[in-house]
């Protein structure tokens, strides 16, 4: 604990390096500030992860109790039995993320550059749904996508359902209780998490850059590709992560809008934990999900070269 010093407040131009001098008083201030919150996270976030890791290699039964036996076979069994749900989670979450990006980008662009004096109002409309319980809103999709309803009818007339059923997303004239309904629900639920980071990074772009690009003979679409989109990359990266991560672990949309054929890995973990009460399998599954997400996120962040998300 020798390097504790107050962060030099806005080092004067000449202060190239941090002060290394000790300051006897206030040396422990940051630790006192951190202590309660970090303790909370250690006890209720990190420690449970360890418990879960240990649970996943236990054997036994609910009545006789569990014991750590380093039974790694649970992992192989879990993957062997539930790989379709894993795969489905990645597919659904991936599709929903791409849809969020495609839908969210124009909206974010609209707010950042075109909305003018309507900007605050549009922003409120993006955020306001947060204040109605998302379960209620998800249930509303049951009404919207109801069999024989106007939306399904329109999609049918426009032959959209032919395309989606060719893609294996729908069956016959139904939308509800198909993969399309689940993906639609996921897209809807996590769209604001895409729009807000996109908007934040678009808003920072100096509009003069557009003019400069135009001045340098870039056509509008080229301007967008070479300038705007590049500069909004931080928003794209954090938006996709904020969408993909929760979507891949979600079980609400598939439960409310899908059938038993659309179960995702979240549904499995939930039922193993709360209904089947097979704790080792549930713990192993949730550990695999966590590891998979961390791997994907790390790889993705490395590839896109934006490491300062926090």
């Amino acid at each position: 604990m020798t390097t504790v010093t107050e962060a030099p407040p806005e080092p004067p131009a000449e202060a190239g390096k941090p002060a290394a001098r000790r300051r006897p008083r206030g040396r422990f201030v940051p630790y006192w500030l951190l202590l309660p919150g970090i303790l909370w996270l250690v006890v209720f976030f990190a420690l449970p992860m360890l418990y879960q890791a240990s649970t996943s290699v236990q054997t036994g039964s609910l009545t006789e109790g569990y014991e750590v036996t380093w039974h790694f076979a649970t992992y192989w069994d879990a993957i062997g039995e539930y790989w379709p749900q894993f795969l489905r989670s990645v597919q659904y979450a991936g599709t929903a993320t791409v849809l969020c990006l495609l839908l969210g980008y124009p909206l974010a662009y609209l707010i950042a550059f075109k909305a003018g004096r309507w900007r605050s109002l549009v922003l409120i409309l993006v955020i306001a749904p947060f204040f109605t319980s998302f379960l209620i809103r998800t249930l509303a999709w049951k009404t919207i996508l109801a069999d024989g309803g106007p939306v399904v009818g329109a999609l049918n007339t426009l032959h959209v359902l032919d395309v989606t059923s060719w893609l294996g997303m729908t069956e016959g004239d139904r939308v509800l209780a198909t993969p399309l309904a689940v993906v639609c629900g996921l897209t809807y639920n996590f769209l604001p998490f895409m729009v807000l980071p996109l908007y934040t990074s678009l808003e920072r772009i100096d509009p003069r850059l557009h003019e400069a690009a135009g001045d340098l003979y870039a056509r509008p679409f080229t301007t967008f590709r070479k300038v705007t989109f590049r500069l909004s990359m931080p928003g794209v990266v954090s938006g996709t992560l904020l969408t993909f991560i929760p979507a891949s672990g979600d079980y609400i949309n598939s439960q409310l809008l899908g059938s038993t054929n659309e179960k995702m890995i979240g549904n499995v973990i939930q039922s193993q934990f709360l209904t089947v009460l097979d704790y080792p399998t549930a713990a192993a599954l949730s550990f695999i999900l966590m590891a998979a997400i961390l791997l994907i996120v790390t790889f993705y962040i490395r590839r896109s070269g934006t490491e300062d998300l926090v």
Binding site: P12, A13, R21
Partner: protein, 393 residues
Amino acid sequence: MTDQSINDTVPGGAVRLSGISKTYGSYQAVQPLELTVPQGSFFALLGASGCGKTTTLRMIAGLEEPTTGTVHLGDQDVTGLPPYKRPVNTVFQSYALFPHLDIQENVAFGLRRRGIKSVKKQVGEMLELVQLTEHAQKKPHQLSGGQQQRVAVARALINHPKVLLLDEPLGALDLKLRRQMQLELKRIQTEVGITFVHVTHDQEEAMTMADQVAVMNAGAVEQLGAPTELYENPGTTFVANFLGTSNLIEAEITGSSGDDLVLKAGDGKLALPTTRCRAATATGGKLLLGIRPEKITLTHADDAGTVPDGRNRITGRITATSFIGVSTQYVIDSPVADGLEVYAQNIERDTRLAPGAEVVLHWNPAHGFGLDAAQDIDAGLTDGSDGADEGAA
């Protein structure tokens, strides 16, 4: 190194720094320096960014603890005191006005912290001094840059500090407002009689406002003195180049005649009064002969005969001219040195003085100054990042 000026002429002084230095890790921001700021003076610390001037100021304010040395305010040693116990106040770069308080409360902040209840009269008087009475209820962001600047001054001055510290206070203003605020600050200083220590990188600002200027470079004071003294008789190449423009000519001492040194530069013979030479004057030694551009007169080579005797003269050819209204600036290559600059008042313009013209440059030897030739001839050139690089080195 040349002029760690111990200003002993004014005993005591408002601020006395002795042996003060600041080190960040292995980087020495301020070398041990001695400095006395005379009571009631307008004192400027001048230097490029990274020269240690702001760190020095912050050590006086108590925002930075010196690595070695002591800070005295009057007779009181304040080295160990935190900023809120020191009788000095600061006008910060970009002002640091409290955005959540109105102008009135910003100005009253210091008084209130010292437990003074009835602040209204004092605040009113202070706002009057800086001519902001009608803006008392506004928030800082509603004022213009110049007005914010005056609030910052008022907020500091209301506490009647022993010394007022100003950290690049005019840096954020445009040129015209800057000129106006320079006069304004000078007026306020004269009116209240408090010692001002002003940090700036703008040599014109320092010369206009200050009674005393300390030129800093690479964490040390290069030279200290009154503005005219610094300008007319710079002690180092850094000061010569940083304060205004200087032509520096490499020359060899060939002897002396009377009170003058006789120099040889190229194939020309030049004179320099011994009293104006800061370098060793032994015959055979080298030195840099400096001459300010406005002290040189240009005469077309055809009229070379009209140049009076007793003046230093060298020949050259004009390579560029630029007309800037009051004067014309010429760049001249000569066998003695390339790129010599000459500023001529536009009183009677000689139309023959155009690029390509052969000319004679001549000046009164007493206007020259001699510097040690061992120095970097380009030290302190302000165009480019020279100054900053030196500071960081």
